[in-house]
Amino acid sequence: MYYKIGVDVGGTNTDAVLVSHTNEILAKTKQTTTLDVSSGIRNAINVVISEVDVPKEDIKYIMLGTTHCTNALVERKELNSIGAIRIGLPASVSIPTMADFPDDLKILLGEHNYMVHGGYEFDGRLISSLNEEEVKKYLFAMKGEVESLAITGIFSKTLPDQELQVADWAKEILGSDVRTSCSHQLGGLGLLERENAAILNAALQKVASKMVDAFKNTVHELGLSSQLFIGQNDGTLMSLEQVQDYPVLTISSGPTNSIRGAGALSKVENGIVIDVGGTTSDGGVLVNFFPRESTQAAQIGGVLTNFRMPDVVAVGIGGGTIVRFANNQCILGPDSVGYQLKEKALAFGGDTPTLSDFFIANDELKIEGAEEPSTLRKAMEKNTGYTFQEALTVVKNEIQLAIEKLVDKLKTDSKEIPVIACGGGAFLLPKEINGASSVIFPEHLEVANAFGACIAQIGCEEEMVINTLQNDENSALEQLLERVKKELLKNGALEDSINILAKESIPLAYLPGAVKLKVKVCGDLIR
């Protein structure tokens, strides 16, 4: 018998759940996210361990989901000075490294960007071989001036050895304190977007180390000796060491945890998950218990990247969404009072009608400290100029339309599929949605994200291009699968739990014989 704790740090709330080894929720809490993040985590863990009588030594694992890295990028806080080496001369010179970065970010990251000879063709032939002298000359130029290094090679997704060689030389010259980010570990095909991902990753490594230390200390101070993991954005876990190597992969882990958590709570494998927060409703698609990945390049902190991210579509419908009536029209948001609900909303003596007010007034939602429904209804009639029933009908109709549009956007075909509600604002969601076979409100839905963090598995994925005129497609695909499985076992997965999530080969337009291979596997870390 052992226990796990899942923690999810969001912008507003830090949630925690304590679960048994069979993933039964024994305690849960929602605490306010604190400025220093750590004390919010401490408070949340403290609440769940004091609620149940469980020996501390039996809490074997703690999983953390956090927006720390996203915030650091968006707010440009604590980013490292980085070096970047692109391997591919004579190709690729026409577009410099960080060509399309916002200027402020470019300045923050520094000027140590170099291009060296190397890189591969799509079919594995060399564009050029690496020139040790050339690479080392640049490494010496960066010595002492960069805190981490991004390395990106042309077609490194097919053949990563040049990136790895440069990383070795970097260790030798820059010392092992300077972490390296190899692009083949981070992004898909598309050199610029993958290079951008490697650069953002490099820039986040100091932030990640600090976050890891803080997490370790917090857990230690609570007298726990649990093994610690951090969730990444594909719904799988990373060790604390891996997080320091690949921090960018934690970006968007929040929606991923909600999607997986909601799926597990409702025991639905395939469907749409809508996580309703204070400001937005974030919809994602659950495919075999994992979030569907976005196929579009994503902007992070103003930078175009192509690393895998959950496909999430947001609409401005949340508990704090401001409701306005004007010209016989009702407009919801898109702005929200956010975390100031208890100061600004009508139900708490404020002057702003929010969606929560309507549900409190209609007796569908109870929040401590709110006005009595009947009093609130009167305040709302005065504020909106409509009878409460009229206003409520219009508001609910607007929600219905917005959510149906969201569901429709997320679906890949016209078949009806279940919709699973989660998040603190789930009460807003209609009980019936056009296009959905059912709307499920699972127990513990308000902490789906923290639950999602603690049920995460470990995973591994790879993609590459091969020339089928030279290689047999099927055996290449099998080899790639074996390689990925080996990597997964190395990361600690249980062999008999390995599950193949994707195994695809996609022919490329204009290139007869060229095929893109992609595999993805996952497995249980622990039982």
């Binding site: 026409s94 063709e121 564009i127 598309g190 610029l192 337009a509 204009y510 007869p512």
Partner: protein, 360 residues
């Protein structure tokens, strides 16, 4: 003659995506490449075809290759110079101006990099007025202008000069060697005189692309609807409003083939539209009846931001507007229809101009 700076390139790239009619390669890479060239070498000069000297030497410059390769193995930039210089060397004559072969997609912007670096003008004209998937599918072919000599160069420094017996062979041979070069290269082709450009090219297409780009990108600031502005600027016919309800894509030989089904909304409630594509959108049918046929332009627009959607990125659920635009008059002659019309792509339907198909 007017100067083209980096801001103009933003608009032209957006307009090129419209003229790409779903294909032509994403101009994003081309845009970054050209902006870099302009920042390094200065602005490029755009010249009207009518203002060319009759005996001037004009050479279209283009990127050639697979879209997926172009985004992974980025251009060195030098291959375009090499192709350019090899053409000059071979012809024993200085090139007076470059021009786009294909204003739709990536190649709508690429020649600006050469114009900036070589400090020679770029002609406000192209050979398609849109995008097409093959080298011979240009209005130049209709005027019996040979594609050869073709100068081809890759980023490694490999170079070829081709003499082909006709323009179709140009596509065949350059296509074959491009794969060996690693899937992408630069070409100079269809060398012609100013007189020939005046007669054979689609005039004013760069300025047109820029206006389309401005309609999409600037209307919001002027409190106008980007879609309405685009329709007005393009003299487009709004063929359909709806939501993508099904997408079928398969790669067949060198082509991405597929059908994008759209379920009607608003004024098209209850109707369906099928968009056929082979890299580019080629046929739009409403409830089984053709509404636009290649070589007329079929443009798929995202209803939310009025930006064009490429055939590779069509997705279920996207709210879209389908626009039809008249092809250049040269494409509407019997020869033009034979080269860029429905039969060329294996359709049984005969070409009927969009304005006739949509006559009420």
């Amino acid at each position: 003659m007017r100067k083209i700076g980096t801001k103009d390139i933003e608009y032209i790239a957006m307009g090129s995506t419209v003229l790409g009619t779903g294909g032509g390669g994403d101009p994003y890479i081309g845009k970054l490449l050209v902006k870099q060239a302009i920042n390094t070498y200065g602005e490029a000069s755009l010249v009207n075809a009518e203002d060319l000297e009759d005996d001037a030497l004009i050479v279209p410059i283009a990127a050639f290759g697979a879209p997926m390769i172009l985004v992974e193995k980025l251009f060195s930039g030098n291959e375009f110079m090499k192709a350019f210089e090899m053409m000059e060397e071979y012809l024993g004559k200085k090139i007076d101006a470059v021009m786009p072969a294909e204003a739709g997609g990536l190649n709508g912007v690429i020649p600006f990099a050469v114009a900036a670096e070589k400090n020679i003008p770029i002609v406000d004209a192209d050979g398609m007025g849109r995008a097409f998937p093959r080298l011979e599918m240009v209005t130049f072919t209709l005027h019996n202008i040979p594609v050869s000599p073709i100068a081809q160069a890759d980023e490694k420094g490999n170079r070829n000069i081709y003499h082909t017996i006709d323009n179709v062979w140009g596509e065949t041979l350059v296509g074959a060697t491009t794969i060996q070069m690693g899937g992408s290269c630069a070409i100079g082709c269809y060398p012609m005189s100013g007189k020939q450009v005046k007669k054979a090219a689609v005039h004013g297409i760069v300025t047109y692309a820029q206006k389309l780009g401005e309609a999409i990108l600037d209307s919001k600031d002027k409190n106008l609807s980007p879609l309405t502005s685009l329709i007005k600027e393009a003299s487009a016919i709004k063929l359909f409003t709806g939501k993508i309800s099904k997408v079928t894509i398969k790669t067949e030989g060198r082509w991405n083939k597929g059908i994008c089904e759209i379920m009607g909304l608003d004024e098209n409630q209850g109707n369906f539209m099928d968009l056929d594509f082979q890299n580019e959108f080629l046929m739009a049918k409403k409830d089984g009846r053709p509404m636009a046929i290649t070589p007329d332009l079929i443009v798929l627009i995202d209803a939310e931001n009025a930006q064009p959607i490429t055939a590779e990125s069509v997705q279920y659920g996207t709210r879209v507007v389908v626009l039809g635009m008249k092809a250049d008059v040269q494409w509407r002659t019997p020869e033009g229809i034979a080269l860029g019309g429905p039969q060329k792509f294996g359709y049984k339907e005969k070409f009927i101009p969009i304005e006739e198909l949509n006559k009420n």
